[in-house]
Assembly symmetry: C2
């Protein structure tokens, strides 16, 4: 019997990664192309699909390709379209699934990056065997994929799971979405930088971070300073974890998950973000939920996580 394979494609603003993955998460192949080299999506897909077809020829029929899963910003599972993605060159509504299926003649599914991460954890990662869990992606922004009773929560329009845009303070920080006080303006890589910059302005204490030019400060700098015991950096993590923890408690009240998985760059700060997030989440949980919800790191290899997530959809929605 031929080995069954899923193709995973992760479309980012700059790069597109793709790979051939089996149902255990084993990679047979991983490559990437530029997303932004061509201005129109048709030319981009001509290049991408030509490469995929060449790879299929190269492997000489050795595998049975079961489907293609795509993770992309603003990817809508219901419509198969990328809808008004702010960080992609292609504007408006892109019928991505249709365009790929026309070229490849292989069943294709699409979702957004945070939901893809949740599929990845469900099939290959930390949520294997769980029916109720939430994945929070802590990168430039804050994304989320919510799984209830074994199913991704899409809502009536495919846009559910926007925990990054729930409100921490009604009159809080300006968010890129146009609203104020959204969680992602506090709990994300950019959020912790904003917190740190405010602290450097308003506080007098010494900090190694005062040596870094303000416009160049990154969340990684704050992490490295925290590791060295820098008091202000540690406090910035505590504040960030508090905002996150309060809203995680809200999320638990909503769907009572078995676990919440923190994924992405800021989550790799480990205990510096997990400890305060856990502490404040527990503080704000209703008694019936206390000490029942695991806060877990991603179970996926970070270099392959996005492609694994995209590929995982094939096993969930195409092969079944």
């Amino acid at each position: 019997m031929k080995k069954e394979i899923a193709i995973g494609i992760d479309i980012g603003g700059t790069n597109t990664e793709y790979g051939f993955v089996d149902n255990k998460g084993k990679f047979y192949f991983k490559k990437n192309i530029r997303t932004d080299e061509t201005d129109d999506v048709e030319s981009y897909l001509d290049i991408l699909c030509a490469k995929l077809k060449q790879t299929i020829i190269d492997i000489n029929g050795g595998y049975e390709i079961k489907g293609i899963g795509v993770g992309a910003p603003n990817g809508n599972f219901f419509t198969g379209k990328i809808e008004f993605a702010p960080n992609l060159k292609w504007k408006g509504v892109i019928p991505l699934v249709k365009l790929i299926e026309e070229r490849m003649q292989i069943p294709t599914v699409l979702t957004n990056d945070a939901n893809a991460a949740a599929y990845g954890e469900m099939i290959y990662g930390a949520a294997k065997g769980m029916k109720d869990f939430i994945v929070i992606t802590l990168g430039t922004g804050l994304g989320s994929g919510i799984v209830v009773n074994g199913q991704m929560v899409y809502g009536h329009d495919g846009f559910a799971g926007e925990l990054g845009h729930t409100v921490v303070y009604p009159d809080g920080r300006q968010c890129g979405c146009g609203k104020k006080g959204c969680l992602e303006t506090y709990a994300s890589a950019t959020g912790i930088v904003r917190t740190m910059l405010e602290m450097l302005d308003n506080r007098q204490e010494e900090s190694v971070l005062r040596n870094i030019e303000k416009t160049k400060l990154t969340s990684k700098d704050i992490f490295l300073a925290a590791k060295e015991g820098d008091k202000l950096a540690l406090e910035a993590f505590d504040i960030t974890g508090r905002y996150l923890g309060i809203k995680l408690a809200d999320a638990v009240a909503f769907s009572s998950p078995e676990a919440i998985i923190l994924f992405g760059g800021l989550a790799r700060a480990g205990e510096y973000i997990f400890n305060p997030a856990k502490k404040y989440m527990e503080e704000f949980l209703l008694p019936i939920f206390k000490n029942k919800v695991a806060l877990l790191p991603s179970g996926l290899d970070k270099d392959n996580a996005a492609v694994l997530g995209a590929a995982a959809m094939v096993w969930k929605h195409i092969v079944k």
Copy 2:
């Protein structure tokens, strides 16, 4: 063919209502007994089930009883048990489904009151035909039943849907649950009374409500004053609607429902609560959700809503 009938039982702290209902919501029968007349649940169920059996005899086999649905405070759908309900006389964990099935030999399902309300709206009321919606019960507290993809959200332990205990202000009002700042301390019949009492203390304006003894002020008094154009009463509704609207926007970001249904005593204040709740919800929605979520009143006759909700479960979970 015999008419198919569901038995609905709504257990409250003081009264238990029960009725025989068909799949269109037509009542063939409705009665009630005291919940608190006996100290132990066994004697209570002996009385209740004797009455149900007598009714079944009285109707002389004219109907086919398909099942029993029970709505009760802290009723857990997964376990069939009432677990530590603060306003019931029976303490600890009560295996209600088992106790009823032993007496009646009829398949029985249990859920909590807010979820029962959501089943009622799904089968008989304002959410007929919807797959994604949320019911918010605005009574003494704030309960919620969340439906995603046609299924009630129970979470891994059966306790999901506690939007009344999501946080408005981390250091806000003391809640009965032990936490501070829970939504139900602001947006509920008791919440609006707390808001009004604070306003009467802190503000100088005239209000007809100054004529009512403070310990006796009710949400209905505030409603009647608002109808007369009392400025402070109108402002209390605006404040209450704002707290509610902000957290409804959070709920939309979570599960992107087609509609949110406001149910219960405070919801019957109509435009006084709906208008501000809608206004502030829209203000705090992510642009992709704006003007897409209907805010609806209950579609159930208020005098029968609780029994209808309990009976509705039979069509959803037993007959299917």
